[in-house]
């Protein structure tokens, strides 16, 4: 987690970036928080900034279309060997997550980092 990291821990597809811009125009600033567990777990949940309280322990993974993307530190430990890629898919969002566009919701896709990328990120335990 050095200052000079070149590998993004989270990124977004162009469709997701556009959707974030639309949401921002509609709702003001928004944030993402990676979910886990039952049902709609594994989805990136999107909220108006200030709605979901970010705690001191939460990990800021990066930005998606300018919106901060957070994850639970315990979950990050177990997900850190993968890059998260926020995308759009057809369907309704789960939980209380904002709907990015009619009939669409955000999904997290994942890519396993190469060992070079893990080195760049200072991650050794994978």
């Amino acid at each position: 987690m050095g200052d000079h990291q070149t590998v993004a821990k989270v990124m977004a597809t162009p469709a997701a970036v556009d959707a974030v811009a639309d949401l921002r125009a509609q709702h003001g600033p928004v944030i993402f928080y990676q979910s886990g567990g039952c049902c709609g777990g594994s989805l990136p949940m999107c909220f108006e900034e200030g709605d979901f309280r970010i705690g001191d322990n939460d990990v800021l993974l990066g930005f998606v279309g300018g919106a901060p993307f957070y994850i639970d530190p315990r979950q990050y430990e177990r997900w850190q060997h993968t890059q998260l890629i926020v995308d759009l898919a057809e369907g309704e969002p789960e939980g209380f997550s904002l709907s990015p566009a009619d009939g669409c919701y955000f999904v997290t896709r994942s890519r396993v980092f190469s060992s070079e990328e893990l080195n760049d990120l200072g991650i050794t335990n994978s």
Binding site: Y33, G37, C38, G40, F47, D72, T82, G91, F96, V112
Partner: protein, 518 residues
């Protein structure tokens, strides 16, 4: 009524709801159930309800807004004093009548549930619906026998403790067991003398409305209010509302955290059940004999495919002692390879479609991650080609990956029929792997050694450890999470007294003597 798997039933195929000859009547549109009436949504909007079996719309339900939540809360508040003062005898009678109505409509509700959720009708007939009825009976029995307590503080001073209702509660339930989860939440709430506003999941909003049709006559108006619609709109409007005295939620961790945050803002209690990544542990001695117990253990592993893996306690991590791995796994894979997928309304179907396109998408994404992580796919790993009228349904093959516990497919609830298998050398390693998870909802231990079963059961950090069984959900056995799996317990007696009532203490002096302080 009990459902048996007799041979004549094994060939039965139910007609889809609304089809001529179906046991389920179907209207094109369903409104909210508020104050004992069917109330159209304030803004007049409706949303489509699909059956996951064919991805086709079969009805529409209210796409409610915050105004509808307020209407439901009005009705609940109008009913709460009378219901809260209703005698325990009468409350128990209402709960028993709900159970009677569920049983009298068992087939109808089972078919409705199957069509809305996708789970095979043999499960809804034998498990979901009978367990729902029994759940109401359990809490009817508990509340009928409910006692407060008294403490003699001293000769003239007595402390009386009463279980008083909370008032109006908000309840948000998931899509995986729409009716059973409703029963888990409604029964203790009503038993405690509370009125409720309940929101079903957006992808399974309909079966609970069919339940409302058959219990409308036996529940006083306003005691149960059902509002359908999107979580971001009405789930939030309900959970943040200052007119609820408690919020209960089953779902994923971020919404769970929001629920607790909203509860904190209003200073009300919450209960949350947030899923798991349950280990199912098989010690070598299960293969000490080739007998009925070994057969049961094999089935115990294959239970990861129960309800197509859409279970908070899905035994989605199998830990197998390495000395039996090859032979035990071969038996399991043989059984898995024979799982029958297809029309969920066919009584012989063992696995129906996933609940939604979103769930299917998630499963495919995790299968992709598993492959990238280097896990070995032992069976499945793609969508089945069913063709015909179910060709567009959200089906996925029962899948097994072999890998290591640090892989994401071992760490995150996929909520699909995807099993992650690994091996262990000894009991200590089994325990370490079992507890190496963020969650702690369920676990399974299989062994012929009772002492080891007990040691493991006590050492596993999970709220429920099934020992030589799995996926049984009787009322009377506490259910809830350790670690990130949530806060609170359902399904047993303290659910009523700890989570759906509050304790009133009357501290009474029967002495005339002043305290002498002033």
């Amino acid at each position: 009524m009990t459902v048996t798997t007799d041979t004549t039933a094994a060939t039965k195929v139910y007609d889809a709801p609304g089809a001529p000859g179906s046991v389920v009547t179907l209207k094109p549109r369903y409104d909210n159930f508020i104050g004992g009436h069917w109330v159209p949504p304030a803004k007049g909007q409706y949303m489509v309800d699909l059956s996951p079996a064919n991805a086709q719309e079969f009805c529409q339900v209210a796409r409610s807004t915050a105004e509808d939540v307020e209407l439901a809360l009005d009705a609940a508040h109008a009913a709460k004093t009378a219901w809260g003062e209703t005698s325990l005898t009468e409350r128990a009678r209402v709960l028993n009548r709900i159970a009677d109505a569920i049983e009298a409509n068992l087939e109808m509700l089972a078919v409705a549930e199957t069509w809305d959720n996708g789970k095979p009708v043999r499960e809804t007939l034998a498990a979901d619906i009978p367990l729902s009825a029994d759940h109401f009976r359990y809490f009817a029995a508990e509340v009928r026998a409910l006692e407060g307590s008294t403490t003699e503080i001293d000769k003239d001073t007595v402390a009386y403790h009463f279980h008083e209702p909370l008032g109006v509660v908000g309840q948000i339930i998931p899509f995986n067991f729409p009716l059973l989860m409703a029963a888990w939440k409604l029964a203790p709430a009503l038993a405690g003398g509370n009125c409720t506003v309940i929101k079903p999941a957006s992808s399974t909003p309909w079966s609970i409305l069919k339940l409302a049709e058959v219990i409308a006559d036996v529940v006083p108006p306003g005691v149960i209010n059902i509002v359908t619609g999107p979580g971001a709109e009405i789930g939030k409007a309900l959970a943040t509302n200052r007119r609820i005295s408690k919020i209960a939620f089953t779902g994923e961790t971020v919404t769970g955290r929001l629920i607790m945050q909203y509860a904190a803002e209003n200073i009300i209690p919450s209960t949350t059940e947030l899923g798991g990544k349950s280990p199912n542990i098989f010690f070598a001695d299960v293969m000490a004999q080739d007998d009925e117990f070994l057969d049961k253990a094999v089935e115990g592993l294959v239970l990861y495919a129960f309800n197509k893996g859409e279970v908070c306690t899905c035994p989605s991590r199998a830990l197998i002692q390495e000395s039996i791995y090859d032979e035990f796994m071969a038996r399991c894979l043989d059984r898995i390879g024979r799982i029958k997928q297809g029309n969920p309304l066919d009584i012989s179907t063992q696995m129906g479609p996933q609940n939604s396109k979103q769930q299917l998408e998630k499963i495919m994404s995790y299968v992709d991650i598993g492959r990238q992580e280097g896990a070995e796919c032992l069976i499945g790993g793609e969508r089945p080609t069913l063709g015909g009228e179910f060709g567009d349904g959200y089906f996925y093959q029962p899948t097994v990956f072999k890998g290591t516990n640090d892989m994401r497919i071992f760490q995150e609830e996929i909520f699909g029929p995807v099993l992650a298998v690994t091996t262990f050398r000894d009991e200590a390693e089994a325990l370490r792997i079992a507890n190496d998870t963020l969650y702690g909802l369920g676990a399974g231990v299989w062994t012929r050694d009772g002492n080891r079963a007990y040691r493991m059961g006590r050492a596993i950090q999970a709220g429920r450890v099934w020992t030589n069984c799995y996926h049984v959900y009787p009322a009377g056995a506490a259910f809830g999470g350790y670690k990130m799996s949530g806060v609170g317990r359902e399904l047993y007696k303290e659910t009523l007294t700890e989570h759906y009532t509050q304790t009133k203490n009357l501290l009474v002096s029967y002495s005339s003597a002043p305290q002498g302080l002033f």
